[in-house]
Structure formats: C-alpha cells, structure tokens
Amino acid sequence: MGYTITEKIFSAHLKGKKVKADEFVYASVDLALGNDITAPIAIDQFKKIGIGKVFNRKKVVLVPDHFIPAKDIKSAQQAKVLREFAAEQKIVHYYEVGRMGIEHALLPELGIIEPGKLIIGADSHTCTYGALSAFATGVGSTDLAAVWATGYCWFKVPKTIKFIYRGKFKKWVCGKDIILYTIGKIGVDGALYKAMEFTGQVIKSLSMDERLTMANMAIEAGGKSGIIAPDEKTFEYLKTVNAKRYKGKSGQKQFISDMKRWKSFYSDADAEYETVVEINVSDIEPQVALPHLPSNTKAVGKVKKMRVDQVVIGSCTNGRISDLRIAAKILKGKKVHPKVRCIVFPATQAIYLEALKEGLLEIFINAEAVVSTPTCGPCLGGHMGILAEGERAVATTNRNFVGRMGHKNSEVVLSSPAVAAASAITGYISHPDAV
C-alpha cells in the first residue's frame, strides 16, 4: 500500500521513519506561528518552561493581526507582549503594523511556505497553507509554547478524505463556492480529525488564491488540514514570491533543486483513503452559508429576499488580490445601496498596494465602500465593523456562528466576493447576475 501526501510529510519529519495514518508521532516542526490573541498565552506558558530561548528564531512567526491596529488598551498591551518577546528572542518573522497583514495571506506571499513543510499555528486557519502542499494545522497556545521550547509537536497522523472535483464552473462560481458546497455536503464535523485532500481537474485549474480559500476552510468541516498536491501552478507561485532567491543562473539552479524536492510530496496511486468523495461542480450555483453554521449552505438563487446591513469583503479566506478584482469588477460604476455599509479590507500591505496600483481602491471608494487597513478585526467581531442587534452581514469570511461578528442577535451570511459585492449594491442577498 502506498502513502498519502500527508503521511509522506510526517515521515519526512521523523528522521526517516515511515508512518501511516493513526500512528502517534513526535515530529519536528518547520514553522510555529502565533498572533496577538494566541501568542500572549503561549509566551506566558513558554516562560514557565524556563529554558530561555526559542528552539529556532527563524522558525517562529509572530503576526499581530487580530485586534491590530490596537482597538483598545488591553489589545495594545497584548501586542506589546508580542513586540517585546520578538525583540528579546530576535525573532526573524515578526511583522509590525505597516509590514504586517492577515497572517494566512501574509506567510504565503513572503515565500516561507512550501511543499512538504510541517507547520503549526495557534490559529485555526493555519490549515490555509495546505494549498501550497504543506501539512499545516491549528493548535492552541500551550501547544505553541511547547513547540517553541522543543521544536517538536505530537500528532496523530490523520486519515485522509479524498475529494475529487470534476466538471466546469458556471459563471461567477469560484473556489469559495466549491468549499462552501463541500462543507454543506459533509457537515461541520464531516472531516473531524481528518486531512482533506482536494484533487481533480477542477483543482488543477484553480488559481493559487482560490486554492488558499479552499484549504483555509477545511477547519470549518472539522478538518485537521486541507491539502493540495504540488503542480505547475504551485511552482510558478513559489517562483514569483521568491523572485529574489531564484534570480540569475544560481537562482535557477536552486529553483530546479527545490522543485525536485517539492515534487516528492504527492499521494501514491495506491494510497489508502478513509473515503473518496466525488463532486461534479457543473451543477453548482454560487453558494451562501446562512446563519449560524458554515454547513448551512444554499444556492444563492434559492434564498428568499434577505435584507443586508453590512457587506464585508476580505479576510484570510477572501482578501487576496483576485478577490478584490472580482469585487471591483462588480462594483465598478455602481453605488453601494444607501442602507448598506460595505467594508473592503485587503489582507496584506502588498495586496493593498497592488489594489491601489490597479485602481481597485478608487473603484471601491467611488462606489462608496470603505477600504480598511489589513486586519482580522471584523471577521471575528473584534473591531472595524461590529454588528448591532438584529443586523445582518454578508461576508467573504469563514464563520457565521452566533455572535461571530458582533451582537448575539446579529447574523452573518458567508459568500464569495462576487455575491458579497452584488449584495452590497442591491441591499439584499443577490446573485451576481442581478447587477
């Protein structure tokens, strides 16, 4: 029997020991990430271990992005804890306001995620990096502290559910619709403790941005990770984000050697899967997830007139440049409905700058949307767009739990950037064709 890509990544972090699903392992970790909410606890725990220095200052990542720019004094204090720890430990990957972005959009664009890496993060959406063929999973703060102290983490190697996507997208359908549809099909615990491996012709044709969106939401099906095998698009992406490293003749040589290593991470034809789920995307309409679970999905056309107070376009799920391009395409020359607040937040500074250069920000502002600084703020009901009692938002984010974006009697409907932008114009949940 062969191995899944996930089993191969674990085996590569166990000094050559080959492992299969369900085995408990103590594996070496390549990157260990925390943010301004989770890292302060990790730092507190780390100090209790009493060993002074982190295992490797180049493998620790700290991104203050959740309540940052600081929304209140307590949040400022938490950010200060990170800042001081980063300075004291000489952390290489610490990103301050002005350089930071939403962690899961930032790390891939920095070029520090690559196929075969084993990454943990004290943030549940760490699974995003599976789009770049890494095994990446969310953990809590104490786990993070333990990795900082030891360089290792314990895992149960997950079984894998293989998803095969076939068919052709209808107009406006994108990666977000497919992952919402998948979660709707298997439920919020449908992949509990499992790796979700996304395969098939449809995945091959998806852009890296859309792949990141899909892997990002694996956790919303309970998945331990979402993963996509590396292909030409992966290599092209890594070449672009690491343009400096791969410049010139010696750079080219380095790229070829790196690519050879990346290519060794794929699932064997006879790998063992727990189940295989086949999905034909040809019949799928743009999706929404109605309150209060990401699995509560419906084709947008089947939603009865539902008023919208706020539209949020951004987040680690859909705040990348291609998401902003789609939203801008729909909002161009139009106005946000007078009763709607539309908030666009590019996920990183680089995305913000690119959107600026492409004229997207001008389109948003002319449409009377507001463009915010990169932050996780509104997505988790932190700041920069909290909902009042009885209000409803359409958001390109990843969760629509009770009170997620504000008051416990407010609602969040999840959608793609296209549906969100269309809804901003009409004032109710709308198919992009409606505008």
């Binding site: 307590k74 786990d143 102290a149 615990d189």
Partner: protein, 166 residues
C-alpha cells in the same frame, strides 16, 4: 479523582465563539474569561452554575477557533469537567494541555438531563447519574494522551521527559 456536580446541557457544534466571544479575547485572565463563559447562548451561565458543575454536550464540542481562552473560560467559571459525544480537535488538545478534564461518551449526553447530579470517576472514566441512577462508560484515551493527562498537562509532560533542552 472524583468529580461531582450538576449537569448543564448543551447541544451539538457548540463553538468557541459561543464558549467565549472574541470581544473578551483581549485578556487571558481565567476569572474574567470565566465570567463571560457561554453568555451568548445561555445568559448569566457563569452566575447560575456552582463550582464543580459539569457541562454535558452533543457532538463536535468546541469547534471553530483555536483560542485556548475557551477551555480557560470553562475552567475559570468553575466547571470541573466536560462530557460530550465528540470534541473538535483543537479544543480537545487544548483541554488536555491545560488540564481541563474532558470525557467522550455516546450515551451519557443523550440520557443525562439538565441539573441531574453527576459523579465521575476520572481514573476509570465511569459516569454515574445519581439522579436517574444510571451508569455510563466513556471512551478511553490513547495511551499517549493518558500519559499527558497523568503528567498534569503538556508542559509538565515536557519537563518530565526532559524534552526542552538547549
């Protein structure tokens, strides 16, 4: 170790936003977090419970965010143990890592009623519903996990094993 308390029932897919809303994540003080535990789905829950009470829930308890604030809040408000049909993965790790007792049982959550008095023997994993006079067994932890539980959490386990060295 014996745990005894009143049961507080919750349904399926109780997520970490419901356990502790993000608006309180600018601190990790256990008492403060505890005072807001579950408030969006069961108003004044922390005031209603007595120290030592037990949460009894359905499937996928603790799904959503990785915030360790969730088990800290549960512990902080005085809950002594969570029994559920299943736990979301990160919450499960976090609870074990910080030493919040959790038990998996298929039957207990389906039969135990709110405010029943429950007694748990955490060593052999037996749940006694003293009100309904019924006994339930629980899923055993894997040996590896039991080792962490026995050590009193992850940091103690690391210390005991001498894994953090420079």
């Amino acid at each position: 170790m014996k745990i005894k308390g009143k049961a507080w029932k919750f349904g399926n897919n109780i997520n970490t936003d419901e356990i502790i809303a993000a608006r309180y994540l600018n601190t990790f003080d256990a008492k403060e977090l505890g005072s807001h535990c579950m408030e969006d789905i069961n108003k004044e829950f922390p005031k209603k419970i007595s120290k030592g009470d037990i949460i009894v829930a359905g499937k996928n308890f603790g799904c959503g965010s990785s915030r360790e604030h969730a088990p800290i809040a549960i512990k902080g408000c005085g809950i002594s143990c969570v029994i559920a049909e299943s736990f979301a993965r990160i919450f499960y790790r976090n609870a074990i890592n910080i030493g919040l007792p959790i038990l998996i049982s298929q039957d207990a959550p389906r039969h135990i009623k709110e405010k029943n008095i429950i007694e748990i023997n955490a060593i052999d994993g037996v749940i006694n519903d003293l009100t309904q006079k019924k006994t339930y067994s629980t899923d055993k932890f894997a040996d590896f996990m039991q080792e962490i539980v026995n050590s009193g959490g992850l940091l103690n386990w690391i210390r005991k094993k001498g894994l953090a060295k420079r």
